[in-house]
């Protein structure tokens, strides 16, 4: 708030009672803003930068600080063909020859393009599967945004709320769901058998394909969500103008709508790439070691073999790559002109006869036929989405309701009985539900102000802004495992202080802090672009009419960014409910009566020999979170309109 110095303008105005009251509230508000900023900085320092720094410091523990990086970068196992480049960076001619001879080996034949083998290395493979996952997520997610933004149908709002649900599902549960749905004895094969088709072996024969589908399961809804929000605020008057000037539908879409959607699609793609670049539970569960990513390697080094230096080196490299991608994106984003919020496209009715839904000026049999083709495509898309998203979830719910012999309620009975008679060292369902909801509400309460503070701090121009924003995006770029281990070694084990004291942070406070740190970047990513898009002339006029800077911010900028704030809050809620890696580490250390495990932790603990109860608990998680999202979204809708 660099323009804060001008705040005293308000105090010199007419001294009536109302004005005085406003000034004193403004002072309080300004005080609050300062407190929020300080608290945000402290939380970030203590719960993010310190623990992550602790792990990263291990990477520099060798005889010479950068030895471990040289070793890693020049190892073909990690960097593939690039290892030679890292080993002999100055031998440019040699590398050029290599590239040329590789291209010399490319042959184009009837069977397509044939290329000589190219060793990708662990990093190369990780980026490769992340790129494929991103493509798949955008391809599956974007049509969803189109349908949600352009059509009206019963349940549209609810469906829009539910797009966030996959986000909260623990990876291990999704993997189980994919097995239950697409495995050899899975739901899909049962259905295919009814139709008379033989069993397919999707997971067996093409695990990479299934891993990418599972990544799309998580991230396509994310793409849908951000793209829908953007589509709904496209300024459609411009489309009408373009149409009235003679542009056809396709042309108007390409020249007017698409440019306004691109930043949102790019955001979805960037987040998908970051998440899938740092992926590990899905890969480990479906792909196994053969599809290992860098993160899988980090995970084993940190938790099994305790080879910290190697793990930390890989983690630093991973983070450098992620932050590089983030920085590039933020530079791109700041170059985009933020669109002024509009009303979005007029929604057509999806059901009913096409003629009824068609505006009268677009009549004629040819157009109606075209529209029907469009609806046909939407139906096809709905089937694909249904199989991909509802399949694993339905399979999971069914697993919770059946045993080998048929329908049963005994898995739910187990949960009830565990709740009633479980010993203190056993995991009970009710505290898990209570903790999940409690932590989620607390996370929203902390992450939203934090995100707002960071958004305001990083609103500005140019290179420095992008750098600062990149730094605040660190939670996206650091893997969950590194974050978790950092918290474990930094906060749970404690920091030693002079005089033999130890500062130890565990329990609910630590979990909420960790969740808030993981969640606030979502608030920033939703709010910052909207803040940047506010017309500065609006703020200027408010100031010239006597409003203080804080008042102008609250009444104008915040109102205009309310949609982003609500979206960010929903994400913060989702992150908290679904978070597993650091929760399990922070929760396991609590002894006595104040248990702090959450629903995903309970699901993981029930998995083992008790598949049924684990899936029953997973169903509980699903129902509780789906219900809360519908509530959050409805409340949010009120805020957005208010």
């Amino acid at each position: 708030m660099s323009r804060g110095a001008r705040d005293d303008v308000a105090e010199r105005g007419p001294a009536d009672a109302d004005r005085k009251r406003t000034v004193s509230t403004d002072r309080t508000l300004r005080g609050l803003a300062v407190v929020a900023t300080v608290v945000t900085a402290l939380v970030l320092l203590l719960v993010l930068y310190f623990p992550v720094g602790l792990v990263f410091a291990e990477a520099f523990g060798g005889a010479r600080p950068f030895d471990s990086f040289v070793t890693t970068l020049t190892d073909p196992f990690y960097t593939g063909v690039l290892a030679e480049v890292f080993a002999r960076p100055l031998a440019v001619g040699y590398h050029v020859d290599n590239v040329l001879s590789w291209f010399g080996g490319v042959s184009v034949g009837l069977g397509g393009v044939d290329t000589p083998p190219l060793r990708k290395g662990l990093f190369g493979f990780t980026a490769y599967q992340a790129a494929l996952s991103t493509l798949a997520s955008v391809a599956i997610g974007l049509p969803g945004a189109y349908v949600l933004a352009n059509f009206e149908f019963p349940g549209r709002r609810t469906l829009r709320s539910l797009t966030i649900v996959p986000f909260v599902l623990p990876g291990i549960m999704v993997a189980s769901g994919f097995y239950a749905a697409f495995g050899q004895a899975g739901l899909l094969n049962d259905v295919l058998a009814v139709v008379g088709l033989g069993p397919q072996q999707l997971i067996e024969t093409n695990p990479l394909f299934v891993v990418i589908l599972a990544h799309a399961f998580y991230n396509a809804p994310l793409v849908t969500r951000v793209a829908t929000a953007a589509w709904e605020s496209v300024d459609y008057r411009a489309v009408e103008t373009a149409r009235s000037l003679g542009a056809n539908r396709r042309r108007a879409f390409r020249d007017v709508v698409l440019p306004q959607l691109t930043p949102a699609i790019a955001t979805g793609a960037l987040l998908t790439f970051l998440f899938t670049f740092l992926t590990f539970p899905i890969v480990l569960a479906i792909g196994g070691l053969e599809l290992a990513t860098v993160e899988v390697w980090v995970y084993h080094r940190l938790t099994e073999t305790l080879a910290f230096e190697e793990a930390a080196t890989l983690a630093v490299l991973e983070t450098v790559i992620s932050l590089g991608v983030t920085y590039a994106y933020l530079r791109y984003e700041s170059a985009q002109r933020a669109a002024s919020p509009g009303e979005g496209p007029p929604r057509e009715r999806l059901f009913g006869r096409a003629r009824d839904a068609t505006p009268s000026r677009l009549s004629g049999p040819r157009l109606a036929g075209l529209l029907d083709a469009r609806r046909l495509a939407i139906t096809g898309y709905a089937v694909v989405v249904f199989v991909l998203f509802v399949g694993p979830l339905a399979a999971m719910v069914l697993e919770g309701l059946t045993d080998g012999s048929g329908f049963t309620l005994r898995h739910y009975e187990f949960l009830l009985q565990r709740q009633a008679a479980g010993a203190s060292f056993q995991t009970k369902p009710l505290p898990a539900i209570r903790n999940s909801l409690l932590f989620a509400v607390a996370t929203v309460a902390i992450a939203v102000p934090m995100g707002l503070v960071v958004s305001v701090a990083s609103t500005g121009e140019g290179r420095w802004r992008s750098l600062l924003e990149t730094a605040t995006m660190l939670p996206f770029a650091v893997s969950g495992i590194v974050f978790g281990i950092g918290l474990l070694r930094g906060l749970v084990f404690g920091i030693s202080l002079p005089g033999g004291w130890r500062f130890v942070l565990t329990g609910a406070v630590a979990i909420v802090a960790a969740h808030a740190v993981a969640a606030y970047p979502f608030v920033v990513r939703n709010v910052a672009p909207q803040l940047a898009g506010v017309d500065p002339r609006l703020v200027e006029s408010a100031r010239s009419l006597g409003a203080s800077r804080v008042r102008a911010f609250l009444d104008i900028e915040l109102r205009l960014a309310a949609t982003g704030l609500v979206a960010g809050a929903a994400f913060a809620f989702a992150i908290s409910i679904g978070e597993f890696d650091s929760t399990v580490i922070l929760a396991s250390d609590v002894a006595g009566d104040t248990v702090t495990y959450t629903m995903p932790v309970a699901v993981e603990r029930y998995l083992g020999r008790r598949f049924g109860p684990a899936m029953a608990m997973g169903t509980v998680l699903l129902v509780v979170t789906a219900a809360s999202f519908v509530v959050v979204d409805r409340l949010g809708g009120r805020v957005e309109r208010g």
């Binding site: 053969e290 030693s496 580490i585 396991s588 083992g608």
Partner: protein, 360 residues
């Protein structure tokens, strides 16, 4: 390294303030206080079928003033290794559920100066004399007492494949695309199977064997449960598992034809589980009483059935449940590596293996 020394110095001061863990056993009198037992999740988490609840109940019934409290640290013993490394206190008196490889990892990580587990006075545990010698860990610092053992074997569906009898069978065309194994980095059973192949082919030959297995389309999953549930779903007709598998199959009423045990070369890799006293605990005497209780005949029989593992004491000391005796198989020739063979080798073997499997 200086930082570590500082941390551990500060840590011991911190540990003293945890007054709840310090208890005094009067010489000769009835022991009293709380014994905190650290173990793995499945040892305690099911009241009807895991051993934890039974052990707590019966031990407390015998020692009136004693309470047994379980803790299940995330990632097991490596959690405590890291605690030690960072100078934090370890909130347990004994640890139940150690493998030989855990000891090797502990020593490789903590070095000689920092100790997680204390040397054990075997004379204070009379029943320790019944432990079968072949299950001893070979620990030079004698910290661990074995309390049960499993044998890694193959479990196969006899309706789908013939019994595999040699390692070479698994790389032959008849067994292409049939085997489910586990990641040796994260699963005990996976690591045991890897060590078994090293025992068979030597350090020069095992990677070639695994390349052949990969060429024959072995599928390697993250945990024992993941691979076993894939097996239960009939994704593949053969899985690396335990020779006690039929005990579960019997309890769950599953067809025995789908749970045949295959011992390659008439061998099975023994994976004994042990218990140890945490260094610096004030409950050494009570820990010894607990260990003695763990190795008593009735307890051993109960652990066998509930943990579905073989007892660690000699046969004449245990009266095993009939169903266990009927469905649990011992390999004709148990093989395993002791501490000495694994020390300095284990992490390299596993690393090379992982790189071979993941090479992309």
């Amino acid at each position: 390294m200086r930082r570590r020394a500082f941390l551990s110095g500060a840590g011991s001061v911190g540990a003293l303030s945890l007054a709840g863990c310090l208890t005094q056993n009067g010489g000769g009198g009835e022991p009293s206080g709380t014994l905190t037992v650290a173990t793995y999740e499945s040892f305690v988490d099911s009241p009807s079928s895991s051993p934890g609840g039974w052990i707590k109940e019966n031990f407390e019934a015998e020692y009136d003033d004693v309470t047994v409290e379980y803790v299940t640290p995330e990632n097991g013993v490596t959690n405590y290794v890291q605690r030690k490394q960072q100078g934090a206190s370890v909130d347990a008196d004994v640890y139940v559920g150690l493998n030989v490889d855990d000891l090797v990892t502990i020593d490789a990580t903590l070095g000689d100066d920092t100790r997680l587990f204390a040397e054990l006075d075997r004379d204070s545990v009379p029943n320790a004399s019944h432990v079968r010698p072949e299950l001893e860990f070979g620990d030079p610092k004698s910290r661990v007492l074995p309390y049960d053992t499993g044998y890694i074997s193959l479990v196969y569906d006899e309706d789908e494949v013939d019994e595999p009898t040699t390692f070479e069978d698994l790389t032959s065309p008849a067994y292409e695309g049939t085997l489910l194994a586990q990641n040796a980095q994260s699963a005990d059973s996976g690591q045991a199977f890897l060590l078994w192949t090293i025992n068979e082919f030597g350090t020069d030959g095992y990677l070639d064997y695994w390349r052949d297995l990969q060429a024959n389309d072995v599928r390697i999953l993250g945990s024992w449960w993941e691979s076993y549930s894939a097996y239960l779903e009939s994704q593949r007709p053969m899985v690396v598992s335990y020779s006690t598998d039929q005990v579960f199959a019997n309890v769950d009423d599953l067809p025995m034809s789908r749970h045949q045990i295959g011992f390659l070369n008439d061998q099975g890799y023994a994976n004994p589980e042990g218990m140890a006293v945490v260094e610096g605990t004030g409950n050494v005497d009570l820990a010894a009483d607990f260990f003695d209780f763990m190795l008593r005949g009735e307890t051993q029989a109960e652990i066998a059935v509930r943990n579905v593992q073989f007892p660690a004491v000699s046969d004449d000391q245990v009266d095993l449940d009939d169903s266990f005796a009927q469905y649990a198989f011992r390999p004709p020739e148990p093989v395993s590596f002791g501490y000495e063979e694994l020390d300095g080798n284990l992490s390299g073997w596993v690393e090379e293996w992982a790189r071979t499997i993941a090479s992309n």
